[in-house]
Amino acid sequence: MSSEVDGNALGGDLAEIFAVDLTGAAVTCGGCKTVSAVAALLVWGPAPGLVARCPECEDVVLRLVRAPGQAWLDLRGAVSVRIPLPAPE
């Protein structure tokens, strides 16, 4: 099984929700505990329902569903998401 795209393609939908870029965030897989950049997750579509899997064990890490006026973000497959923030001035 191989996906057509990766977590880079989640960037636009996530940027409508979050104030910082999330493609560079480090997500820890709840299944195998591998740490990957969100950009490196394997993504199955098509939009508006996206499923992102761990590149190591292929467990589902993140689900993102867009509906009119709302977005559903399911992160139960992730232990944590470490989000880089701009350094303080």
């Binding site: 990766d6 880079n8 960037g11 636009g12 409508e16 104030a19 493609t23 950049a37 950009a39």
Partner: protein
């Protein structure tokens, strides 16, 4: 900080890069600028309200007052790519959301050597990096290894030649997978250990590596680079979306 939203983009120009790939030059009022490697989401809406959305890497580097260029490789049965490559005309509009992404990007302030590995139209965001380096007369050692089916499929062939001639410290190596030019030194074949070992930077140089292409290509290239001793944290990959 404003969240990203959709905005209208108007096709100012279009030019064929190969028989199956076309560059759209887009006027996007209020565009905030972008980094090399970032992409945009393109949304098309049919008269009946049906919408299709795809991600495309930005091909152009950003200069103040500039435009946004996307190079679209037509994919058989690709509902979005065939429309963008063949149907969309100058002065028509599409919806655009971007710039997107802060991971698969190259910043001109970075001083590390760079290895770019492209499979087919995966060269597009890497070309934006070469263009951005050229804009600032960058001195970072840059290498592009570009795997492509035949010489006729090479995107930006003339411009790449000009960059190699004019931009010190940049070189380009082609890997032909189906048909090589007359007299080419190696038979056509897929990218392998020998190519990445001979034409990439040694792991000791600790280059920043960007790999972009179809999934199988990206996985093969990244696995080889790790096996050669490159730090996996310095290898950034993009499996291209927006192909269909």
């Amino acid at each position: 900080m404003a969240r990203l939203t959709w905005r209208a983009a108007t096709v100012a120009e279009a030019r064929w890069e190969t028989a199956s790939a076309r560059t759209l030059v887009l006027d996007v009022p209020g565009w905030p600028g972008h980094l090399a490697g970032q992409h945009v989401d393109v949304r098309l809406t049919a008269p009946d309200g049906y919408q299709a959305q795809r991600s495309y890497s930005i091909a152009s580097s950003w200069r103040e007052g500039g435009r946004v260029e996307l190079t679209v490789q037509r994919v058989e049965d690709g509902e979005v790519s065939s429309y963008l490559a063949d149907v969309l005309e100058t002065s028509q509009q599409v919806e655009l959301r971007g710039p997107v992404g802060g991971w698969f990007v190259w910043r001109p302030a970075s001083t590390a050597p760079v290895l770019l590995v492209a499979g087919g139209s995966g060269v597009v965001p890497l070309m934006a990096m070469i263009r951005a380096r050229g804009d600032v007369r960058g001195r970072q050692p840059f290498r592009l290894i570009y795997s492509v089916r035949t010489p006729e499929d090479v995107l930006y062939a003339d411009e790449l030649r000009r960059h190699v001639r004019d931009d010190p410290g940049l070189d380009v190596h082609f890997v032909y997978t189906r048909k090589a030019p007359e007299g080419w030194r190696e038979p056509p074949g897929r990218i392998g250990v020998a190519t990445l070992n001979s034409h990439g930077w040694p792991p000791d140089f600790a280059p920043d590596v960007y790999v972009c292409g179809p999934t199988a290509f990206v996985e093969t290239a990244a696995d080889i680079l790790v096996a050669l001793g490159h730090d996996s944290r310095k290898i950034r990959t993009e499996r291209f979306g927006g192909t269909a």
